[in-house]
C-alpha cells in the first residue's frame, strides 16, 4: 500500500512537472498538451461508450458543436472563443437528447451506424451553412487581443488548462463509477434485458450518460479551437475524429477510468513522432507503422492495455467480460 501510494505521488509530480522538464522543447511541451486534449475527448466518450457500452462512432457531432460554438462566439459576437464553451456544452446536451432518444433504442452495431450517419449528416449540412463559414471554415482571433483569448505561443498554459479539465472530468467519472449511476450503467452494459427486469430504467440512464458524454466532448472541441484557432467541417465533424476517440479508449481500456488517458498516451506520441520522423518521406509510412501497432495491440490485448494490470489482480471488474459484442 505504501509503495502504491509512493508510486501515485511520483506519477502526480511527474505529470505536474512535465512542462518544466521539457521546457527547452516547444515540440515536447506541445505533445503533452495534445495528449491531454485527446484524453479529454476519449474520456468523455468513455462515459457512454465504455461504461454504458453504447459504442457511438459519431461523437464528432459534439466535438464540432464545441469547436464551432467557440469560434462563432468570436466571429459573430467578438467575445473570446472560450466564452463559447458553455454554449457548446449546453447545445450538445440538447442535441444529444434529440439524437439519443431515437438512436439509443438501437442495439449494438445499429446504434454505431446510426451515430455515423447522423455525424455525416451534420458534417454535410455544416458545409452548406453560411453562418458557420461554409466549407471554408472559421478562424479564431489571428492575433490575441488579451489573455482571455487563450492564445499562447507556449504550450505550457494549454497543458495546465487541459490537465485541470481532464482531472475534473476523471473525478466526475470516478464519482459516477462509484455511485448508483455507475452500477446501473454496468448492469445495462452486461445485459440490458437483465437490468430492465431489475427495474433499472435503462433508456433513461443511457440517455443521461450520452448527454454527459456529449457535454464534455463539446468542451474538448472548444479547447481544441482555442489552441488551433480554426475549424472547418472536416476538422470539426469529420468521421476520423469520432473514430480516434473510440480507438484511444479501446486501446487503453474502455470502461476504465484511466483507459482513455493510457490510450492517448500511446497513440498521440506515436502519431506525432512517426509523422515527424517518417512523414517527410511522403510514402505514407507514418500510417503503416501506426496501423500495424494498433493491429498488434488489438490482436494480443483485445480488452486494451490496462488489461495487462487486470491479469495481476484476480478480482478485476471486467476481465472475464469477453463476449459483450455478441450479447445482442
Amino acid at each position: 500500500m505504501t509503495r502504491y501510494r509512493l508510486l501515485q505521488i511520483v506519477l502526480v509530480v511527474l505529470v505536474l512537472a512535465y512542462p518544466l522538464v521539457v521546457a527547452g522543447s516547444p515540440v515536447w511541451a506541445r505533445l503533452g498538451a495534445l495528449v491531454l486534449l485527446a484524453a479529454i475527448g476519449a474520456s468523455a466518450w468513455n462515459i457512454v461508450g465504455g461504461y454504458a457500452g453504447q459504442v457511438s462512432v459519431g461523437h464528432s457531432v459534439f466535438f464540432g458543436i464545441g469547436a464551432y460554438s467557440a469560434v462563432v462566439t468570436y466571429t459573430h459576437l467578438g467575445l473570446p472563443p472560450i466564452a463559447g464553451a458553455p454554449i457548446g456544452m449546453a447545445l450538445s446536451v440538447l442535441v444529444a437528447a434529440v439524437i439519443g432518444v431515437p438512436t439509443l433504442k438501437l442495439s449494438g452495431h445499429y446504434f454505431s451506424m446510426a451515430t455515423i450517419a447522423v455525424a455525416e449528416l451534420v458534417r454535410v449540412l455544416s458545409s452548406t451553412s453560411e453562418f458557420l463559414g461554409g466549407a471554408q471554415g472559421l478562424g479564431g482571433p489571428p492575433v490575441p487581443r488579451g489573455v482571455l483569448d487563450l492564445s499562447f505561443i507556449s504550450a505550457t498554459p494549454y497543458y495546465y488548462i487541459f490537465l485541470a479539465v481532464l482531472a475534473g472530468l476523471l473525478w466526475l467519472t470516478h464519482m459516477i463509477e462509484r455511485g448508483r449511476m455507475g452500477f446501473y450503467l454496468r448492469a445495462i452494459k452486461d445485459s440490458e434485458r437483465a437490468a430492465r427486469s431489475l427495474g433499472v430504467s435503462a433508456g433513461r440512464y443511457k440517455l443521461y450518460a450520452y448527454m454527459l458524454s456529449a457535454a464534455f466532448t463539446a468542451l474538448a472541441g472548444s479547447l481544441y479551437l482555442t489552441m488551433f484557432g480554426f475549424v472547418d467541417p472536416e476538422s470539426g465533424f469529420g468521421i476520423l475524429i469520432s473514430v480516434k476517440m473510440v480507438v484511444m479508449a479501446a486501446l487503453g481500456g474502455a470502461g476504465q477510468l484511466f483507459g482513455p488517458l493510457v490510450g492517448a498516451l500511446i497513440l498521440v506520441p506515436l502519431e506525432e513522432l512517426s509523422n515527424s520522423y517518417l512523414g517527410g518521406q511522403g510514402a505514407g509510412l507514418t500510417f503503416v507503422v501506426y496501423g500495424a501497432i494498433i493491429v498488434i495491440i488489438a490482436r494480443f490485448l483485445p480488452s486494451g492495455l490496462l488489461s495487462l494490470l487486470d491479469r495481476r489482480r484476480p478480482t478485476a471488474p471486467r476481465a472475464s467480460k469477453t463476449v459483450d459484442g455478441h450479447a445482442d
Partner: protein, 287 residues
C-alpha cells in the same frame, strides 16, 4: 424531361447494384460473426488495384482481373481471419473497431507506399462502348458491374439459404458452441465466410475499377456507403443489402438530379435514420 428522369433512375439502379455487390461481403461477415470490418473499403481498394496492375502489367481486362482479385482478396480475408479477427473476437466489440481500423490504415497506406499516391484509371473502352437501348444510354462497364453485382449477391443469398454449407454457416452464427456439439467446426466455417466475403469484395473492386478511378484512399469513399447499405438492409441479410443498395442508388441519383447533388447524402442519411427508427433491425434483418 421524362426521358432524362428514366435515365437518372436507370443509372441509379446500376449504381445500386454495384453498391450491393461491394456491400455483400461486409454483410456476410457482419451477420455471421457480428464483426464490423472497418477495413472493408480498403479490401475493395485492393481489388481495384489488382485490376489496375493486371491491366498495366499484362494488358488483361476484367475476365482476367475479376478471378484474380476474387482469389487475392479471398486469401487476404482468410489471412485476416486467422491472424487477427479470430483473436479480437475474444475481446469486447470495441476490439473489432480497434483491430480493423488499424488494419484499414495499414492496408491503405501500404497501398500508398507500394503504388504511390497518383490516381489510376483503366481505359474506358476496356469493357466495350456505351450503347443506346430504348432511348436510354448504357455504359458497358457499368452494365457489366451491375449485372455481376446482381448475380453474385443472389448466388450468395442462395448459398446461405439453400445449401448444406450455408445452413452450417448459419448454425455457427446462431450459436457457435451448439454448432460445435453438432460436429461443425466453427473456425472453419468462419474462415470460409471471410474467404467468400473476400471473393465477393475482390470481384466488386475489379469491376468498379473499370469505370471508377483507383487511389489509395478510394476505400474511404466507398466504406461509408457500404456501412449504410448493410445496416439499412439488415446485418447478415444479403438480400437486404441488395434491396438497400438499389434503394440507395436510386434515391441518391434522384435527389442529386431533382434537389441538388450536395443534398443527396443528406437525403440518404435521413432515410437511413428513419428506416432504423421504424425498423431497428434494418429492412430485412432478423428482429
Amino acid at each position: 424531361m421524362s426521358m432524362t428522369l428514366v435515365q437518372v433512375v436507370v443509372s441509379g439502379l446500376l449504381l445500386g447494384a454495384v453498391y450491393a455487390l461491394f456491400s455483400s461481403g461486409l454483410t456476410l461477415i457482419w451477420g455471421m460473426m457480428n464483426v464490423v470490418n472497418f477495413a472493408h473499403g480498403d479490401f475493395v481498394m485492393l481489388g481495384m488495384y489488382t485490376a489496375v496492375m493486371i491491366w498495366t502489367a499484362l494488358g488483361g481486362g476484367p475476365w482476367a482481373s475479376v478471378p484474380a482479385a476474387a482469389m487475392l482478396i479471398a486469401t487476404l480475408g482468410i489471412a485476416s481471419y486467422f491472424l487477427l479477427v479470430r483473436h479480437i473476437m475474444r475481446g469486447p466489440m470495441l476490439a473489432q473497431i480497434l483491430g480493423t481500423f488499424g488494419l484499414a490504415l495499414f492496408l491503405r497506406y501500404g497501398a500508398l507506399w507500394t503504388f504511390g499516391a497518383n490516381f489510376k484509371t483503366l481505359p474506358d473502352d476496356l469493357v466495350g462502348h456505351s450503347f443506346i437501348l430504348a432511348g436510354i444510354r448504357f455504359e458497358g462497364a457499368r452494365v457489366l458491374a451491375g449485372v455481376v453485382g446482381l448475380v453474385v449477391t443472389l448466388l450468395l443469398h442462395l448459398l446461405l439459404t439453400r445449401t448444406a454449407i450455408g445452413s452450417r454457416m448459419l448454425a455457427v452464427s446462431e450459436d457457435a458452441t451448439a454448432a460445435q456439439l453438432m460436429g461443425i467446426r466453427p473456425q472453419r466455417m468462419q474462415a470460409l465466410a471471410w474467404g467468400m466475403a473476400g471473393a465477393a469484395t475482390g470481384i466488386a473492386g475489379a469491376l468498379i475499377a473499370t469505370f471508377f478511378y483507383t487511389s489509395p484512399t478510394v476505400g474511404e469513399t466507398l466504406a461509408i456507403v457500404a456501412f449504410v447499405t448493410v445496416s439499412f438492409g439488415g446485418f447478415g441479410s444479403v438480400l437486404g443489402a441488395l434491396v438497400a443498395g438499389l434503394v440507395i442508388g436510386v434515391v441518391e441519383s434522384l435527389s442529386a438530379y431533382l434537389i441538388g447533388p450536395v443534398y443527396k447524402d443528406v437525403i440518404v442519411y435521413i432515410l437511413f435514420v428513419l428506416v432504423l427508427w421504424f425498423r431497428p433491425q434494418g429492412l430485412m434483418g432478423k428482429a
